[in-house]
Symmetry: C2
Subunit: 250 residues, 2 copies
């Protein structure tokens, strides 16, 4: 099966979670909007996909996956679909739902990461909501970032079958997404991430393991990997990464 992925061509964004799964599995896929316009690619192809979808399954936003005649949107939903097809999740329903639950929690975390630099509106520039962003960032660094990181650490602790993966004794797409989460947080919040990492050694160990997998390593070093930037979801603005106040929690 050949897969067509439709996502913004110049950022990692939410599409990256899908790209990592396709790359690890060595799947045959086209990152459509990154193809030249002359070959039916570019943003135009993505926009067309948002506007005209066969069968009435209209997506609200990218990423969008086309698999034969099926058109699927919502990142976690795409991974739920791809997981068993790419051998990146066990087949038992209960395990698939657990993997999906974790992926949805990663999605919630990623949304909060986005809203740190865009607390007022996605249609305003960061510079036009910088004051609010600085205020939101303070709570993000002090409360949300450690809460999510410790949650995933606790989940890893609960996996008695392996210290290398989040589900049982094999790699799953959730591990790939955790890799992206750690990479993104290290890029966006290097100062705070350094401080938090010592409280989530298992998560960091999963990150290290996944980084050395041949397909992932090759992908990350290739031109297919879009670099991090202040256009994406994970953004580095040093004013949002200052040392957290040590005020005690209520």
């Amino acid at each position: 099966m050949r897969y067509d992925l439709y996502y913004w061509p110049t950022i990692q964004g939410r599409g990256e979670f899908v790209r990592l799964a396709l790359e690890e599995a060595g799947a045959e896929y086209v990152d459509v909007a990154r193809e030249p316009e002359a070959r039916g690619g570019g943003e135009a192809a993505l926009i067309a996909m948002l506007d005209h979808v066969s069968g009435g399954h209209v997506p609200f936003a990218p990423p969008i996956l086309k698999a034969g005649r099926q058109v699927i949107a919502q990142t976690a939903n795409i991974l739920f679909f791809l997981g068993p097809r790419l051998g990146l999740v066990p087949r038992a329903e209960a395990t698939r739902l657990w993997a999906h639950q974790l992926q949805l929690t990663i999605a919630d975390f990623v949304s909060e990461v986005h809203d740190v630099h865009h607390p007022i509106s996605g249609s305003l520039y960061y510079e036009d909501q910088k004051r609010e962003a600085k205020r939101r960032a303070e709570f993000f660094r002090r409360e949300r970032m450690p809460k999510f990181l410790r949650y995933f650490e606790r989940v890893l602790e609960g996996n008695r079958r392996s210290e290398r993966y989040v589900l049982g004794a094999r790699l799953s797409y959730v591990d790939l997404s955790l890799l992206q989460l750690v990479e993104g947080l290290r890029y966006a919040f290097p100062r705070n991430m350094k401080r938090h990492e010592r409280h989530c050694p298992r998560l960091i160990s999963v990150h290290q393991q996944v980084m050395t997998r041949p397909h992932i390593q090759a992908y990350l070093e290739s031109e297919r990997r879009v670099p991090f930037s202040t256009e994406g979801i994970f953004r580095h603005y040093s004013e949002l990464d200052s040392a957290s106040k040590t005020r005690k929690r209520k």
Copy 2:
């Protein structure tokens, strides 16, 4: 199968999407935290569930559904699990994924509704982020609210098999969630919702149809339905519902 739902007892919140599905199906369920503490209920039971979960499937946040030995969190994930068991979604995989994609888009909308009154932090009172909330609300009313509403209208338009439901010719849990969405928006943004409703007649018609279903009607009139309030996700603050500026979009 008896289901145990764990959710905050005094608000509708995200748990309401699950309650509506269980109620419509006439399922046997206990809304655990709404039971008296003496009978193992109350918030204490919910907190205990968040802290101690068997089998390592730790939830990040409520709602949480217990079905036999399975413990499932994330609202859309719970509905994905319950859908076929309660006869509230067709069994074909492609249709289940489409229903789920819509549910995840509803979840995104609901998160944005929440962040209108809490743009800085969930751990601050509304009054302590009111200025930012007013600014965010302006963009929400002018851009996000119509964008989501028109999206669901377009989805309903795309269903050639019925004008009454979102999937094919039968009620699904997505219709129940759309009911809650319309109810919530009417409560929180009555002034703006009135203006937007004329652009989404199909959505309003689904709402009307679902409201008159015997189980739903009985539930909404019962004491089991927690009322809307300024403690929940949909909150009415008149200053956030003022008439939108008519500034043209770029």
